[in-house]
């Protein structure tokens, strides 16, 4: 019988590590996540069901150490040229079960990319934070604190705004940064994260990118306050909340890459976030394929399995075609993020714009295709027992984060058409 493994991937891009970990994750989701996921919505505050599988994956299997250098107890993926392709496979496998978990998982590594990956490894910070992730069998979570109340996702728009709207401040006081401000929405907040990277300005209102600072802040420090998790339409495993920083003090060397480079490599966070988002969507689509295949094989219309009706088959074909196209697109995006020698650095405006284009295109197609198959299943499409509606709710959020569609459109237009005033 055909399965999700029959959908195409660019085989020449795959790597042994990514595939091996992918297989481990598939087994993990089958045993530890899929049987419990229908109750995740009600678990959004406590994570009583969500934390135990993470404990196994991140802590016991040790995947949380994957980016750190091998001599620091990691697996050295940060030094590889296949980080993104391997990540794509992992994200896709987790998202097949629960894209909220995939996001929470991905964000463990998101800020660490800034200090663990070539060509901007910050050895001192790796040494500082590696033990937090490698010396325990408990799960350790990170978060990337970007969005602010007054500007929404505008602060991600470094190319245009150059950090001028950032209100979270980092003021040097001796050999420490003193951080004050308020962030909204980071994944793995609501009390989950142990370590965060905070996008700050060292000179409020400045349009000098040297004043954009990304500073690591351990969450237990005095002055860090987190709200409880927001209630959302879905994605219960991805806790989001407010974070307030009130005279939070960290050493000066907790700054990720330094003046100019923090802003430059911040682009990498954006590119990888977009690449990961495509993996979340294809993972979801693969599981919906499984569910819809089961539904249309079991249920009948005019005495035949539903899938044997030509009109229904047309919708199913479109769904499969969408998976085919998006999966190849997603792996290509990951490859682009990996191979600086071929495509330019992943923090470049070009790769950022292309990754954004890939993501919003993928999101539009995913939601269109999912909406159609959900409708095809009639009342069962809205029934949690079939899991499709959960994926539909979750994947809408993947479309809307990272500034949403319009910001993406502007960035794509700016790059491809060399617009100057957008």
């Amino acid at each position: 019988m055909r399965s999700i493994d029959d959908f195409s991937r660019p085989l020449e891009y795959l790597t042994p590590l990514g595939e091996q970990v992918g297989e481990i994750i598939r087994e993990w989701v089958e045993k530890e996540v899929i049987p419990y996921r229908r109750d995740f919505d009600e678990d959004y505050l406590e994570h009583r069901l969500i934390l135990p599988p993470f404990r196994k994956l991140l802590g016991e299997y040790g995947i949380q150490r994957i980016l750190f250098p091998e001599d620091l107890g990691g697996w050295g993926l940060g030094h590889s040229d296949y980080l993104s392709v391997a990540a794509f496979r992992m994200f896709e496998e987790i998202a097949r079960a629960d894209s909220g978990m995939a996001v929470a998982f991905g964000v463990v590594f998101w800020p660490l990319v800034l200090i663990c990956c070539e060509p901007h490894v910050n050895r001192r910070l790796c040494e500082e934070f590696a033990p937090m992730f490698t010396g325990t069998r408990e799960p350790v979570f990170s978060c990337m604190a970007m969005t602010e109340p007054q500007g929404g996702s505008d602060i991600e728009n470094v190319e245009i705004l150059k950090g001028s709207t950032i209100r979270t401040t980092a003021v040097q006081d001796g050999d420490e940064w003193v951080i004050n401000g308020h962030k909204l929405w980071p994944t793995n907040t609501g009390g989950v994260a142990d370590l965060m990277a905070v996008v700050c300005t060292t000179d409020p209102g400045s349009r000098d990118v040297n004043d954009i600072a990304i500073i690591f802040v351990p969450c237990h420090l005095p002055g860090v306050t987190q709200s409880s998790a927001y209630e959302k339409a879905g994605m219960a495993a991805d806790k989001n909340g407010d974070i307030w920083f009130e005279n939070v003090r960290v050493p000066l060397w907790y700054r990720a890459c330094g003046p100019g480079d923090d802003a430059r490599f911040y682009g990498e966070v954006v590119s990888l976030g977009n690449m990961g988002s495509i993996a979340f969507m294809t993972g979801v689509m693969l599981n919906v394929y499984e569910k819809v295949r089961e539904f249309t094989s079991r249920n009948t219309y005019r005495g035949l399995p539903l899938k044997e009706n030509d009109a229904v088959a047309g919708v199913l074909a479109d769904f499969a075609a969408t998976i085919e196209a998006l999966r190849i697109l997603g792996y290509q995006c990951a490859r682009m993020c990996d191979r600086h020698d071929l495509y330019g650095p992943r923090w470049s405006p070009e790769v950022m714009a292309k990754a954004r284009a890939h993501r919003y295109f993928a999101a539009d197609r995913t939601l269109e295709a999912m909406g159609r198959v959900m409708n095809l299943m009639e009342s069962f499409g809205a029934d949690r027992e079939w899991d499709v509606e959960k994926h539909w709710r979750d994947v809408k959020m993947v479309q809307l984060w990272l500034g949403g569609k319009q910001l993406s459109q502007m960035e794509v237009a700016r790059w491809f058409y060399e617009c100057e005033t957008l």
């Binding site: 095809l376 009342s379 499409g381 949690r384």
Partner: protein, 433 residues
Amino acid sequence: MPDFQACHPIAGSEGFYEKGYRMNDLGLFPYPRGRLQKADLDLAAELQSLVDKEIVEKRLELKEDYERLLKPAFVRLMVEMGLQKMFWPEDLGGEGHNEPGVAFTVMAALEQIACADVGLAFLAAHSFALQAALAGNGNLKREACERFAPLFCADGAPVIVSFLLPVFTEEESGATWRGKGLQVTARAAPAGWKLHGKCVRPTCSGADADLFGAWCAVEGEGQQAFILVPGDARGLARGPEFRKTGLAASRNADIDLAGVELAAAHCVFREEQEYRRLLSWYYLGLAACGVGALLASYRILKEWGDNRVIKATGNIFKENPLTGALMGEIAKEIAVDRLLAYDLAEMLAEPDTYGDAGCEGVFTAALIVVHHVLSSADYAIHRIMELMASAGYAKEWQLERYWRDVKTVQCYLGAYELAKHDFARWFYGARTL
């Protein structure tokens, strides 16, 4: 409830929406001003006031709480406002507002309710459809009215109506209606009917419904019958409430019918035209649900567009050419959908002009309109969510509830791909689809 017996069409400029009730938003979207009666507008005003007080003001605290928010609101709407009495003959305790023109009343009432809660409007749509099918002037079924009107017209208790309609089934050989399996079989018994059905999926409220209307396969006949099954009938067992995307007011559960015995009078019609008439009115109700959701979503977007500033350009959100254009497109969808839904009300209100609500042409038009409106509502609310980014899916902003509700109504309406076969049957004379 307003006095519908003394009503007449009024000039549009004096209508409800122009009187300042929602002058600055909902009145913007066109509706057939000459066709709504004063009583319709008064009812809409009363409903708006009621749902604002009973639902909207309590929403942030009570969210989608069935027992504390939705159930009491349903009682206020159906019992205290008298919506469940609307069509039934006056001598049986009803309001007797059963002329075909009541379609406008239904539309205006349901869009107001849906503005506050789509699920409550969805439940009310079931009640109106049944009332129209049994008590509508021109096809009033006196015996059925005498039997069932007291249930709706006795003061105190709300009656939740649900339907057991054809669905996809795992059986390849069972009786079907237009390709889908009839979920309930009825056998003629000495005293009336005996009904069977396993894991029957209701259109709403399987956990709570007081009356199920089942389109049954009659054993040995190859024909159908529409039979009303009281929720407390012996042999009817309700499964556990299942979780679903939206419509919290409809606590649904699959039910079993194990030899449910009913008197002959519980079969209220047998003809397919009667069944289509019920569906045409049902589709009007669901279209109104979509329009109400759109009007409420518009209000949320309006507030967003008025107050957010895009930092990169310094524009107020609605003044940015890209976001402003998309907001314009959303307004276009709302305007067209509302006109379409009221056009359907016009068709149902004028059987002499368009044909009976149960004729194939009107039924097909109703199916087209409801699919179009719900699909368009789904599209528009998706776009609004995209404009609002994370606020679009945060429960605090309320929008995501309309998104979930509309999608759920759309799913319960049925597969669009197969509805297209109905369209093709009517417009192209396709015979085997």
